[in-house]
Amino acid sequence: MQYKIPEVIVPGAITPGEDILIRTKAWHPMETGWRKTRDGKTVPRNRINRFICTFNGAEVLSADFHSGVSENPYLTFHVRVPGAGVFEFEWQVDDGSILRARASVGIAGA
């Protein structure tokens, strides 16, 4: 299944040690496997089950999503960034596909 590219909002320039807010949104229906279509067929389960955010390879936040997370899962969190680097985001889907996004941050004024 083809998914839209997730959206990530990360400030471009930071001061080291600053607490920054990261906003992410993946485009995914998050089917629970309990919903039925009008003709009575069960829609198979298909969810994002895991989200991982890393900064230069070090894990910042990981999340396990269950059926209670809304479709197009939106998540914001805070990171204390030690310096310039690259954020990598990964959403793992039940059907085996992985959605990825990247964002780089630089030092302000550098």
Partner: protein, 161 residues
């Protein structure tokens, strides 16, 4: 007096057969009906006990920002912040969100790495019906803090929460 009551309450054969039939019918219906069973608060408590694993549980330090009343349970914004300096000694290692009356009580678990900043996340969850949401924060010293918030829903999460 007692004996008279007993004789009066004796069931006829026909009544017994009818009662048995009704029982069979309800059992069959229960089996046929789609399993839209909602989790009970008891199940959520069991899940919470499983998560904490017998560690001490305290109240406070958690602020849950969730609308007290919402018209649409499919997308309910929730912001959770934990009062923690997030330094080496005192930090939040994980946040668990449970919804007592969703089909499955677990909603999501968040694990914070070494680079995590302020312990505040915001997301959108499904709330199947009016219920109490439970947030458990796992601290670095192994203790747990639990916060609760009630969310009233006019229309549930479309049978999916």
């Amino acid at each position: 007096m007692y004996e008279i009551e007993l004789t009066e309450r004796r069931l006829s054969r026909r009544e017994v057969v009818a009662a048995g039939g009704a029982a069979v019918l309800t059992a069959a219906l229960a089996g046929l009906l789609p399993t839209m069973a909602q989790a009970s608060p008891k199940e959520a408590r069991t899940k919470l006990a499983e998560l904490t694993g017998g560690a001490p549980v305290e109240d406070g330090r958690i602020v849950i920002d969730v609308p007290p009343y919402t018209k649409y349970g499919k997308q309910v914004r929730i912001a959770i912040s934990v009062d923690s300096p997030m330094n080496e000694e005192d930090r939040v290692t994980a946040l668990h969100v449970l919804a007592e009356r969703n089909t499955v009580p677990e909603v999501a678990s968040y694990h914070f790495g070494a680079l995590a900043g302020t312990a505040r996340i915001s997301t959108r969850i499904r709330v199947a019906r009016t219920q109490i949401l439970i947030v458990a924060a796992e601290m670095s010293d192994g203790s747990f803090h639990v916060g609760k918030a009630r969310c009233k829903v006019a229309r549930g999460g479309g049978g999916c929460g």
